[in-house]
């Protein structure tokens, strides 16, 4: 890989002493809409195999950040690299689960066709596309609903379709944008555990954006806390909670409570 001199103005010249491989490298990312500066300076590493939670107040630019990271939105400062390659458009190592999941599904295609659609244009055989689709739908528990249309399913099931579509694409890095913000509490718990299981089973790094503190702690191995706009990174906290995690046991741990207080404080709430 060739380094373009001069472009990596803000990138640190000393190599990371950590021997883990960074799949996502963000340096000095900056983005504004017109004269409104939204992202001021985002510098962040995410390593292969991690599950990182990103929390921030509502409207702080989480979706904007993910759109910049995935190459959907041009940024005006800094660099973004995924798997070592500078991002100029969406790389094919990347999957995304959208905040507005039901709109991201196509209502005129069946559940299976929604999942299969991106695979039709990948250089893989029809048979493999078929197998990946079936496997992904199976692993999110939708094998019995493949022929239905998305709008015939509940919100939680639609979100599973969106997850299956991303899984079938076999991304190395999966970005999830507040994926469970609009489902009921019970469904949310199920989908959180589904996310943990899929992450453990697969060779996949996840960056999980949420504004729910408990969800961030429950899922993440690290938590990145963002400030209000103009947004920077307030703090990165390691989460020392054992895996596999459990909705009741993990949340009952003292460490969980301590983390909750720290994230709460970092977000600017004062007790």
């Amino acid at each position: 890989m060739t380094e373009t001199a001069g472009l990596s103005r803000t990138s640190p010249s000393s190599p990371d002493k950590d021997d883990r491989v960074a799949i996502l490298e963000v340096d000095g990312l900056r983005k504004s809409y017109g004269s409104e500066l939204v992202l001021e300076d985002i510098t962040l590493r995410i390593f292969e195999g991690e599950l990182v939670s990103i929390v921030g107040p509502s409207g702080c630019g989480k979706t904007t950040m993910l759109r910049c990271l995935s190459g959907l939105l041009p940024h005006e400062g800094g660099t973004v690299r995924i798997a070592g390659e500078e991002v100029t458009g969406p790389p094919d190592t990347l999957g995304l689960v959208f905040q507005d999941y039901s709109r991201s599904l196509l209502p005129w295609l069946s559940v299976a066709d929604n999942v299969r659609l991106p695979l039709r244009y990948k250089p893989i055989s029809k048979k493999e596309a078929e197998e990946r689709t079936a496997e992904a739908l199976e692993s999110v528990g939708l094998a019995a609903h493949t022929r239905k249309k998305p709008w015939q399913l509940s919100g939680g099931m639609q979100q599973r379709v969106a997850i299956a579509r991303a899984l079938a694409y076999h991304p190395r890095l999966l970005l999830m944008d507040e994926p469970f913000a609009s489902v009921d509490a019970q469904t949310r718990v199920e989908l959180e555990d589904l996310t943990l299981r899929l992450w453990a089973e697969r060779d996949m790094t996840i960056a999980f954006v949420t504004h729910d503190i408990d969800e961030a702690i429950y899922l993440g191995g690290r938590i990145v806390v963002l400030t209000r706009t103009p947004t920077t990174i307030r703090e990165v906290m390691p989460v020392d909670l054992p895996r596999p995690r459990d909705q009741i046991a993990t949340k009952a741990l003292d460490e969980f409570g301590r983390l909750r207080a720290s994230v709460f404080t970092a977000l600017g709430h004062h007790q």
Partner: protein
């Protein structure tokens, strides 16, 4: 049951009542211009329930049909192109609105000069009038693609043709269809007018012939026929539109 009652029975009764009123009020009419309905209906039977139907009506339907088809193909093609190039809109939208605002009949005389008086001219004028509402509706339809959906297509690396086929086209279809519905009556008017000006057959020709030779019952029978064809075509277009909405429309679902 209730639907059948209000959807079919009541309108049919009202129609019968109106026709009955017309029949009674015009029964003893001696006016040259408003002959009794009885005469109009018997003229209708002799003119249209006979071999004349093929020689007078089919050419008109053929012209409207082909004109609409050309209008749809050109409108959807050009509209999709304009709609996909976001930056083009400010430059071309005023011209398109200008073209749509022109009364279609206005372009008839220059078209006769350019294309002569044959079928080509008539079909051309019909297409040129029908194309605008379809084109503008297509531009709007292509524009109405959800931004999230556009993001989805790009993240998952769908090539342009796939995005067009699976995202843009289905979103645009209901819009396009409303454009077609708006274009159909315009095409009809232009068809009659173009045949009125210069023709050897067609409904417009028939109306012009009969009215200038004071065969008013015959003329009115053509008007009734035009109305009936209009109702049938509009119903067909509406039914097709509902089917398309069922297939593509999202509002029906969420």
């Amino acid at each position: 049951m209730k639907r059948l009652m209000y959807g079919v029975v009541v309108p049919a009764l009202v129609t019968l009542a109106v026709a009955g009123l017309w029949w009674v009020l015009s029964a003893s009419s001696t006016s040259l211009f408003f002959p009794p309905l009885r005469d109009i209906l018997s003229a209708f039977a002799t003119n249209w329930l006979s071999a004349d139907f093929a020689s007078m009506v089919l050419p008109s339907l053929w012209r409207v049909g082909l004109g609409m088809l050309i209008g749809i193909v050109a409108g959807v093609g050009v509209g999709a192109a304009i709609g996909s190039v976001r930056r083009a809109e400010p430059y071309v939208k005023p011209q398109l609105e200008f073209m749509r605002a022109l009364p279609p009949i206005l372009i008839l005389p220059p078209m006769i000069l350019v294309l002569g008086t044959g079928d080509g001219m008539k079909i051309g004028v019909i297409a040129a009038s029908a194309v605008w509402p379809i084109l503008l509706a297509t531009v709007d339809g292509v524009r109405s693609l959800e931004p999230v959906r556009d993001d989805m297509g790009r993240v998952f690396g769908l090539p342009w043709r796939a995005r067009f086929r699976w995202m843009i086209l289905p979103t645009a279809v209901p819009h396009i269809w409303s454009g077609v519905r708006a274009a159909l009556p315009i095409a009809f008017v232009v068809m009659v007018a173009s045949e009125y000006y210069s023709s050897v057959n067609g409904i417009g020709y028939f109306v012009s012939q009969t009215s200038t030779s004071f065969r008013l019952a015959d003329m009115w029978s053509a008007v009734v026929l035009l109305g009936l064809i209009g109702v049938v075509l509009n119903t067909l277009v509406a039914v097709a539109g509902r089917r398309l909405d069922k297939k593509f429309g999202e509002n029906a679902h969420d």
